[in-house]
């Protein structure tokens, strides 16, 4: 659905995106992660033909965005952080205006989408009277009007309260489930990405530093939380028995491949070290992300 190939973007002397190659397959909810200024919005801008690439290729739905913008964006909807509207016009008029840039949209379709996003009854009110959540729904409505196959969401939860964030998350899942859309989600909210995406790419200072499935982010090391009488003694015993690869923070051990927690408990109990708690510690996306960023800082 989205193919970026060796994409570069320079603003003056600053390299905003460097050699970005990315492939988002159809039907996926794909997460784009990175700190502020990592190049996420620039990359999305290039996907939508708003930012000209310095070099490289951008193909959306099989069409080159630079050369064939019209065909490439025909089936694309987009939502940006803090969506902007013509506040002095009604929600309905905003939808009419924005959808007409893709194709003429029948009134029935507009009504259908308004109902889908839950704005029925407020469509004739001026947008300036809308709450933040209603604006987010209107943004979703305008993105859905052209029957998109691909939805690009740039920080869609930005500025929303916890309820709004939850609503956006549920809506994304619903869009994927009910309409089968391919979704590219750029977000700062790691737990949101963790709950929604099946695959992610992480950008750091314009470069992609990780690309893979969410499951792959959790398979780097197998950490186990161990609560014992004497952790130092326990760790040395386990290391001596070649049960562990590593230990950290006085409470975590990384097991050798093939070693189970039952073997650890058995060995420690046999050696007279009481075990109060042992549990698998699955790495969160946040742990993975922070470790990745720290690693990058050390490299730089």
């Amino acid at each position: 659905m989205i193919h970026l190939q060796n994409l570069y973007k320079k603003f003056g002397s600053r390299l905003a995106v460097e050699d970005l190659t990315l492939h988002v397959p159809a039907g996926e909810i794909y997460g784009l992660l990175g700190h502020n200024g990592a190049g996420k919005s620039t990359a999305i801008g290039m996907m939508l033909g708003q930012v000209w690439p310095t070099s490289g290729k951008v193909r959306i739905c099989g069409h080159d965005v630079t050369a064939h913008r019209r065909q490439a964006l025909q089936k694309v909807g987009a939502i940006f952080e803090s969506p902007a509207f013509y506040d002095y016009l009604s929600g309905w008029r905003n939808l009419e205006i924005l959808s007409s840039y893709t194709a003429p949209t029948p009134r029935r379709r507009i009504q259908e989408v308004i109902a889908w996003v839950g704005l029925s009854g407020r469509e004739d009110s001026k947008v300036r009277t809308y709450s933040h959540g209603m604006r987010a729904r209107l943004a979703l409505a305008q993105a859905l009007l052209p029957h998109p196959e691909l939805l690009i969401l740039d920080e869609p939860s930005d500025g929303l309260d916890p309820e709004g964030i939850h609503e956006v998350r549920q809506t994304i899942l619903r869009l994927h489930r009910e309409l089968g859309l391919t979704i590219l989600l750029s977000s700062h909210l790691l737990n949101e990405v963790e709950q929604l995406c099946s695959r992610i790419a992480v950008l750091n200072q314009g470069r992609m530093v990780f690309e893979g499935t969410l499951a792959a982010t959790k398979q780097h090391e197998h950490w186990v939380r161990l609560k014992v009488g004497d952790f130092t003694l326990a760790a040395s015993q386990l290391r001596e028995a070649q049960f562990i690869q590593d230990e950290r923070e006085g409470k975590f051990i990384a097991l050798q491949p093939g070693v189970g927690t039952d073997q650890v408990v058995k060995l420690l109990v046999e050696r007279g070290i009481p075990v109060y708690e042992i549990t698998s510690e699955e790495e969160t996306l946040e742990d993975f992300y922070l470790r990745l960023m720290n690693g990058q800082r050390e490299v730089n």
């Binding site: 939508l48 000209w52 019209r70 694309v76 940006f80 016009l89 840039y101």
Partner: protein
């Protein structure tokens, strides 16, 4: 699609209260001027000028004469200011508010979008002048008779016109005012296409006009004055010369239309090249 996109721009432009503030200001100023012309000393001065040229004042101090006099300061001061304000907003305001990014995530070409915006700007300029001319004439008619007119202006001298000729030339002068306003809108629109704030686009457009007026009036540039756009802006009043210099008027019209086209193309080129970011 052309119609829909054009209609969008008109909705956006005429949906804003800000668009109508200028109309209100014009009517206020016109009312003030009318009162001045009716009750102030200006009327006595006009009667003296007419009598000095051997004409009866009551025959030529008419609604048409008063309407043209009322239009002079507005065309020189208020209209450029207001046209530049609207022109400066056309692209830069949308870029500033983020709606441009919403539009450009859709499969519309930048050129088409700009063309529609520019056309909406031209419609606005024409409407502005129509309202300006219509209210000037309508207000003047309240106290002044529908008779022949006179126009006295540096460069065209003193001209007395019958009511029929006067009204025909009044309509022509409105056409030229609309062209002037569209050039000002176009100039501000051009700056608005660059990456800048709406106010900066407005100020730059007004600065260009101001510099043009200053240079045009410096004696050193007397032989070059036709190179300055504001020189051609005076055609709306020059049209009252007798006989009307239609060849020079046609030439001016071509120059102003070419200037309009140039500013549009420069703006379009700049807009095409720029990156649209939040």
């Amino acid at each position: 699609m052309f119609y829909r996109h054009f209609r969008n721009e008109l909705w956006k432009l005429f949906g804003k209260k800000r668009t109508y503030i200028g109309f209100g200001a014009f009517i206020l100023v016109q009312t003030g001027m009318l009162l001045m012309l009716r009750f102030g000393r200006v009327r006595a001065d006009m009667e003296r000028t007419l009598a000095g040229n051997g004409y009866l004042a009551q025959e030529y101090i008419s609604a048409l004469t008063v309407a043209v006099i009322m239009l002079i300061p507005q065309v020189a001061l208020l209209m450029p200011l207001y046209a530049a304000l609207v022109g400066g907003d056309l692209v830069a305001k949308e870029a500033e508010e983020g709606t441009l990014r919403m539009i450009l995530s859709r499969p519309i070409s930048r050129f088409r979008l700009l063309l529609m915006k520019w056309l909406a700007g031209v419609v606005f300029a024409a409407l502005l002048v129509l309202v300006l001319g219509g209210t000037a004439l309508g207000l003047a008619r309240i106290w002044f008779p529908w008779k022949g007119m006179f126009v006295s202006w540096p460069g065209i001298g003193f001209n007395v016109l019958s009511v029929g000729t006067g009204f025909k030339l009044f309509l022509w002068s409105l056409t030229f005012m609309a062209v002037n306003a569209s050039v000002t809108v176009g100039l501000a629109f051009m700056f608005s296409c660059f990456n800048m704030k709406p106010a900066a686009a407005t100020i730059l457009a007004l600065s260009v006009l101001f510099v043009s007026i200053v240079l045009e009036n410096i004696p050193f540039f007397e032989s070059y004055k036709e190179w300055f756009p504001t020189y051609h802006f005076h055609t709306w009043i020059r049209i009252y010369s007798q006989p009307t210099p239609w060849d020079a008027v046609g030439q001016t019209l071509c120059i102003l239309l070419a200037l309009n086209l140039t500013t549009f193309l420069v703006g379009a080129a700049a807009f095409q090249a720029r990156d649209i970011k939040s």
